[in-house]
């Protein structure tokens, strides 16, 4: 199709072709939610050129140059969901250990472990997640026998061989009850383990590392160098209020640490301190059970209360049974909380931001991912209704402006078992 100029008001529906390369297109007649915290705009337009968003907002009657116009007849358009701290692409079946690369219990290495090379873009978890409207994710390893789980990656969920957007995007360390067990049996031990590792890494970076006396392997000491220097983010799993305070205090010795806290069930109890520190949080928003002694104060109002206090909070850390494609359900629940007396929730716009622009920004991709704004990657999802509503699902998914297939193992099974008729041939021939 050749480029042409037209006035948006005069456009009629053009069927969307299947494309494999980034294509320039304009989505019209859309309910546009930009993901930046603002409320949705009806009659909106999204213009994509060269894999980037050029414009997203109300139709102003402006002229645009494009290959393709997609009139979505009032359907919703959002940035793709950004799933923070997942394990997609690292396992085919969680319970099948041969297929599971999330942790390395017997490896001599820990901080040096780097998931980027092990992510399988063809895994069904990625395909299922993509169909759910999730276009980007941070993928984290799980701890093996150290509090350092290793380095996570930022990926896209596109149906192409090139999944990794940013390798070694962060280091993940586990504190609290889990970290205490890994470090030898107590929080006292995990605190020393963390401080010692950071000191050794700093010594290594300064050329003063005495390898024979060190606790870290050479590879692990090298890997933690960027963390100590604040050049690589340090994600820290932590839940209890007192553990959060202890961590924030650690910045006094290691001032350059670029910390992101993950979990944070009791964050609302220290929301002021968190806000003052500027340390962002990735929280599981529906955790409301005292499932451990470090989560006694867990409540679904945690995210809302931290947000009100000025903490930058993304929803994430959803793995295994609770799937990244359900992040929108998690976000929607926080909107529902607004109507529950004494609860703290999020506005609709904030809720969408908590699964798009905020996790992107926490990943260091503010303005580049997770938002429909000029210059951002054209990760665009068209939904058949309010994206946070249970009844809604994606109709089109674009990543970097490339339209994505919406088929996977599940949709093929669905199609095969649309009926149970085997009168002519067994089901195995229906494909």
């Amino acid at each position: 199709m050749t480029a042409r100029r037209f006035l948006l008001a005069a456009v009629s529906l053009i069927a969307l072709p299947q494309v494999v390369h980034a294509q320039d297109f304009v989505i019209t007649n859309a309910t546009v939610a930009k993901g930046d915290g603002s409320e949705p705009i009806s009659g909106g337009v999204v213009e994509v050129r060269g894999g980037k968003v050029v414009y997203a907002g109300p139709a102003m009657g402006q002229a645009m140059e494009t290959d393709t116009v997609i009139d979505v007849a009032g359907m919703w358009v959002t940035p793709g969901i950004f799933a923070a701290v997942t394990d997609i692409g690292l396992a085919d079946v969680g319970g099948v250990s041969e297929s599971n690369d999330t942790s390395a219990n017997s490896s001599p290495f820990n901080a040096a472990l780097d998931v980027a090379t092990s992510i399988n873009p063809s895994s069904q978890d990625i395909a299922v997640t993509r169909v759910g409207g999730v276009t980007r994710a941070t993928v984290a390893p799980s701890p093996g026998k150290s509090i350092f789980a290793g380095q996570g990656a930022l990926i896209d969920t596109g149906a192409d061989p090139d999944a990794v957007t940013e390798a070694r995007a962060f280091q993940l360390v586990t504190l609290g009850e889990g970290g205490a067990r890994l470090a030898g049996g107590s929080r006292v031990a995990s605190e020393v383990t963390l401080r010692n590792a950071l000191r050794e890494a700093r010594a290594f970076a300064d050329g003063k590392w005495g390898g024979d006396d060190a606790m870290l392997t050479r590879a692990d000491a090298a890997a933690l160098g960027p963390v100590v220097a604040g050049k690589q983010k340090l994600y820290i799993r932590v839940e209890r209020a007192s553990d959060i305070r202890t961590l924030l205090a650690m910045k006094q010795e290691f001032q350059q640490l670029d910390m992101v806290l993950v979990g944070v069930s009791e964050g609302w109890l220290v929301a002021k301190e968190l806000a003052a520190s500027g340390v962002p949080v990735i929280a599981d928003p529906l955790d409301d059970l005292p499932s451990s002694f470090e989560q006694l104060a867990a409540t679904q109002s945690n995210v809302g209360r931290m947000t009100q206090a000025g903490v930058k909070v993304a929803i994430g850390g959803i793995a295994a049974f609770d799937q990244p494609r359900n992040l929108k359900q998690y976000a929607g629940n926080l909107v529902a909380l607004q109507k529950v007396p004494r609860a703290a929730g999020l506005s609709w716009g904030q809720a969408l931001a908590s699964i798009t622009s905020i996790p992107a920004a926490i990943s260091g991709m503010g303005g580049k991912l997770g938002v429909l704004a000029p210059g951002a990657a054209a990760d665009v999802v068209v939904w058949d209704g309010d994206p946070l509503e249970l009844s809604s699902a994606p109709v089109h998914v674009f990543i970097d402006g490339v339209q994505q297939p919406l088929e996977n193992h599940q949709t093929r099974l669905r199609d095969r078992y649309k009926n149970l008729d085997e009168s002519a041939l067994p089901k195995a021939y229906d494909w």
Partner: protein, 458 residues
């Protein structure tokens, strides 16, 4: 959160993978194994006081497939007195509650819960769901593991509108033991929660868990064929016992005889379609009936067979892929089953999921709609009200809003199939047990007293 999940996947798939089967026939025989030995540990539950209450103007889903706009529901004496439209007369002594713009459903029922037997906090000391020392333990009763102070019960009430639930043993064993059906009512004792007159359930498990747990200990079963061999021999021994005078008490065989009598409902954890088909034939060979397959992620492949055998599928909306036998789970499972005319139950198996059974049902409904299967809201509501009641054998007492049934009722602040809705008030046997407008009208377990977050909205 992730640690807990990982723990499940690594060492304790049994917890996530526990399942139950239930018999859809409520016990009617006089030869009731559950009671003939003196009905030990009897229910001491008595409904709390309520006032005659009229819910006026809400959209009412009765749980049995009907929807009434601008409805009226009358509750008194612990029972549903009447249900109707705006013309239904409201006696003067009734307290009126304005339901305009709101929705009323029967109390939510979870057929598959481990609240109390895998209580919060999830520490080893509270891990009481799997007697994983023998592949067949029909002699254990879940009620002896239930800790009534599990804070999870209150979350299920306030966020999920859950009024009745079945607590099952886990799925480490082929035969996990008896389940117990509870009213979701705080109590000092488990007897104070037991659903009066509910039949017992009997938990069985197919597939990966039993063969992994016992194969890993170097003993039978270590294969699926081993699973069936152990099951069949155990049933044969039980049949011999059941055919005798039963005077020599044997706790294991009393449970199995109760299942053979149809008095104890069989709930069978089973993921794969081919295995369910084998279980159906095993049940026919031995003379018992499966009430429900639990975690039945592949039921959509055999909806015809399940309908023909009158077996419910207790399922999640979209869980899949966490273990090999869950690899073929699809979000359209419920809708395809419904189209085949088979019985659908949405279950949780999870202390978080039990707070959102309505949301899971709504997702399953939407997945069906996108493949061309339209299911009315009123039918979807029955997936977490009447249908589980039927599979648990308590549908004569609860599960739908009909005159004479228990006044187990939820008033929602919007359509329960919308993400934006929450329970506003919950009645159990006509007593108001949760009211989101009243900070004191929410249960706080002993465990939470004096702790951070006591009495919070959660």
């Amino acid at each position: 959160m992730q640690f807990r999940t990982l723990a499940l996947l690594g060492g304790m798939i049994a917890l996530a993978a526990c399942s139950t089967t239930g018999d859809s026939r409520p016990g009617t025989s006089s030869k009731n194994a559950a009671t003939e030995n003196g009905a030990p540990f009897p229910s001491t539950y008595k409904p709390y006081p309520g006032v005659p209450t009229a819910l006026v103007g809400a959209t009412v889903f009765d749980g049995a497939g009907a929807k009434i706009e601008n409805g009226t529901v009358l509750l008194a004496g612990g029972k549903v007195v009447a249900i109707g439209g705006p013309d239904l007369a409201i006696p003067a002594e009734y307290t009126r509650i304005d339901g305009v713009g709101k929705f009323v459903t029967p109390g939510v029922i979870d057929i598959h819960s481990h609240l109390g037997d895998y209580a919060s906090p999830a520490v080893e000391a509270n891990s009481d769901g799997n007697e994983a020392t023998s592949p067949t333990t029909p002699e254990v009763w879940a009620e002896h593991s239930v800790w009534p102070q599990d804070p999870g019960f209150s979350r299920a009430l306030a966020n999920g509108g859950v009024t009745s639930l079945q607590i099952l043993p886990g799925s480490a064993n082929l035969m996990g033991g008896r389940s117990v059906t509870l009213k979701n009512i705080p109590s000092r004792t488990v007897q104070g929660m037991k659903f009066p007159g509910a039949p017992y359930g009997f938990k069985m498990a197919c597939g990966e868990n039993p063969k992994r747990v016992y194969g890993g200990k170097g003993r039978m079963p270590s294969t699926r064929m081993g699973n069936f061999a152990v099951n069949r021999q155990t049933w044969l021994d039980a049949k011999k016992y059941a055919a005798g005078d039963r005077k020599n008490r044997d706790l294991a065989k009393e449970t199995l005889a109760g299942a053979l009598d149809g008095q104890i409902l069989v709930h069978n954890h089973c993921y794969r379609a081919d295995e369910m088909a084998l279980v159906i034939d095993m049940a026919k060979e031995m003379g018992y009936k499966v009430s429900a397959f639990h975690h039945a992620v592949e039921s959509y492949k055999i909806g015809d067979l399940l309908k023909e055998n009158d077996i419910c599928s207790a399922i999640w909306a979209d869980w899949y892929g966490f273990k090999m036998e869950s690899y073929d789970g699809i979000p359209e499972n419920a809708a395809i089953l419904q189209r085949e005319g088979a019985c659908v139950v949405i279950h949780s198996d999870d202390a978080n999921g039990i707070q959102r059974l309505n949301q899971e049902a709504a997702k399953a409904q939407a997945s069906g709609r996108r493949m061309g299967i339209t299911i009315a809201d009123a039918d979807v509501i029955s997936w977490f009200t009447r249908n589980p009641a039927k599979a648990m054998g308590i549908d004569k007492q609860t599960g739908s809003l009909e005159a004479g049934k228990m006044a187990d009722v939820v008033l929602w602040n919007g359509n329960p199939l919308s993400i934006y809705s929450r329970p506003e008030k919950v009645w159990i046997d006509g007593a108001l047990m949760y009211d989101y407008d009243n900070p004191k009208m929410r249960p706080v377990s002993d465990f939470e007293l004096g702790q951070p977050g006591e009495g919070d909205v959660k």
